[in-house]
Symmetry: C2
Subunit: 413 residues, 2 copies
């Protein structure tokens, strides 16, 4: 019996990546294709064009999640899903997310090319706004699909450019007019997401595939420090309510709290800005974000609780408001899915290992819905969220081959 | 003999402040009237209208410095100048700079009302871009007038909104079409600038006028820290080149270097921003400014020298570039001017003291040109560079009365 994996076309998969890379290309090798921008819509429309040319069905839901469906012999059976996202960071790469979408679509094409049928429908999915850098929160689309949140909760959210999510969703949905509208959250029987590792471990180990065991806990916060503006040349330091100086004290204390000789903690201040931003005015306000992640559930929960306390304790003469944007406890993937990925990699002579995910992914939202897993492939030097992000065409194809056989098994179970 | 001070009209002086306060009014009591904006041009045009209605001569130079001239009996004698600036901080007040311009103009009107003549011409001047928050450097106009720099050096400077100084100068000059064009740097025989103190000392001492002895040394720097962007969830902290973390180490070390139990040091980080500014991306770049001031020439020079060294020493895995935007050593005012201000205040029964200026002012640029001094009046709680900035109408008038007699003495010497 021919395996689905045999029909994976490495060149086609690579070419598809390069085609999508045009939308939002920065000219420096990377892309700025933030969620629900014109460029994001163009990338979706391109995928939709490939799908309709193949005769696959297209669906879109209220969160603008886009589904390419290959029907099975059991029309009403819960579907097997695979996918990721097409949106990127402001200075992002050509593989983070895109690979998950295009490898799932490649599987559909490979099955079609090889004339292989399956019982359950298989759908390649584009989740909306995984990155969360233009609109909060990240993983908007998969959150809504999973039923964790209603899209109505987010419709009034605004981007830094003043755009409103409601309008951007409508415009984006209109850019794939061939897609039939359906309600979020169809029954799902399994989900596998492929992704570049976004870390250095596979490359360092000389391996091609990671059978991902789960996702570490992740949290993000926005901190607003309020002081008082004043003249930089006159106000004595002891009389100041300097929002920058108080923010510095908070960050120093947070660094101390999260210091970790084992280097497992991931603690990042990604956004930090002082206002009004005049060189000779004492800042009256500072806004910064905190991103904290850890795989240990108890340590994660305790530290998340401490973050607000530490900011309060170090505010000095200023006020502080700590807004929790997102707290997600560590999530474990399904053992049968992990094991099948490992086994299939072995059967295909693709060197693999089990590993945890450092990054958050849409897959985390699918864990409560169905047996869920992820397949990692290496990226050069572990670099991601960076225009220098790079992956190898043979590695991408290897991951897609494991995915093809794993999805087909699920779809026939 | 009637004194010029007797003709100062407190109500008119206050009303002029309130009229200028309309341009760029934020609706929260303050103004955003940054240099060479439309609002700045409107404020200048309003003053020009008052001046031509009075029959005073108007001049403008290549740096858009605007001069209102009351001629003396000796037409070719070097002029006595008095003035300040109409531009403000992004969240500025209604007195910082404006008072210096309007009190000088009030003196011209008072002399006119009282029919008092003088030998030398007296000019009220509006210096361009004292604040330096939209275009670097601050004190652009007085720098060019003093001959320290040519306006040609600054013409290509850009504002954060992409505007170019050359264009904004031309547009601003065109907004006072009644002003005759003249070359920068006419001969000057004396300069006195009135200003709100922008600090708490006069108010605390219960005094109305400060006879300013000089201006402390001031310096400003822009620091650019270059790291590498990466994924906040995956890259181990030990492998990061986190521009934010390196910038924090620099700022901590700078705070330590400038720690001062006597609270004489003025050290301010006014602008600080991490790029690309995504919550889940390790910052690849941070830009921040340093404003450092001190009255002691030796300590000032030594610390200015240390600032770049400290940034380099604390860059960790990142690169750093420290650009010096401005270094001005402490400047002393003319003893005869200081003494005459003190004496006149005494004659007018206005309680006064000698004091140094914490803030930089256009007057500093005039020190090499002619006998120079400044008159301070209190502002509420020392608050300035802030929309809550407030001054008392009687204090403003008291300062203008001292100014009137002092300018008239200079103009008849």
């Amino acid at each position: 019996m021919s395996r689905a994996s045999s029909a994976i076309d490495q060149q086609r998969l690579w070419d598809r990546h390069m085609a999508i890379a045009q939308f939002g290309a920065t000219g420096r090798g990377g892309v700025n294709r933030q969620a629900l921008t014109e460029e994001d819509g163009q990338a979706r429309a391109t995928l939709a064009g490939w799908a309709t040319a193949r005769g696959f069905d297209l669906y879109v839901d209220d969160a603008a999640n886009l589904f390419v469906r290959r029907n099975g012999t059991e029309a009403d059976a819960p579907a097997i899903l695979s996918g990721s996202h097409l949106d990127t960071q402001p200075a992002g790469g050509n593989f983070d997310g895109i690979y998950g979408v295009l490898s799932a679509f490649e599987v559909l094409e490979a099955l079609d090319d090889a004339g292989i049928g399956h019982k359950r429908p298989i759908e390649a999915v584009v989740w909306t706004n995984e990155e969360g850098c233009r609109y909060a929160p990240g993983c908007t689309g998969s959150m809504v699909f999973s039923g964790k949140h209603s899209i109505d909760e987010f419709l009034d959210n605004t981007a830094p450019d003043g755009s409103v999510l409601r309008d951007d969703l409508a415009r984006t949905i209109a850019m794939t007019p061939d897609a039939q509208r359906r309600a979020p959250g169809i029954p799902v029987a399994g989900y596998i997401e492929t992704h570049i590792e976004q870390g250095p471990r596979l490359e360092a180990a000389g391996l091609t595939v990671g059978a991902v065991t789960g996702i570490q806990g992740g949290s993000s916060f926005e901190v607003i420090v309020t002081g008082e503006e004043g003249h930089a040349g006159t106000v004595p330091l002891k009389q100041r309510r300097d929002a920058f100086r108080s923010a510095m004290a908070m960050v120093d204390a947070l660094y101390e709290e999260t210091a970790d000789p084992e280097d497992t903690v991931r603690f990042t201040i990604g956004r930090f800005q002082a206002y009004p931003g005049s060189p000779n005015t004492i800042p009256g306000e500072v806004r910064f974000t905190i991103d904290f992640r850890h795989p240990d559930a108890a340590f994660f929960a305790a530290t998340v609780k401490r973050i607000g306390e530490i900011c309060q304790a170090n505010a000095g003469p200023c006020g502080v408001e700590v807004n929790t944007r997102h707290v997600g406890a560590p999530a474990d993937f399904d053992e049968t899915v992990i094991a099948s990925i490992e086994r299939i990699a072995g059967e295909l002579d693709i060197p693999a290992m089990r590993m945890a995910s450092g990054a958050d992914h849409d897959a985390k939202l699918m864990v409560p819905l169905c047996p869920t897993g992820m397949i990692f492939v290496p990226c050069a030097q572990g670099i991601s969220h960076n225009e220098a992000e790079m992956a190898d065409a043979t590695d991408l194809a290897a991951g897609a081959r494991v995915l093809a056989d794993a999805l087909l098994e699920m779809a026939n179970r």
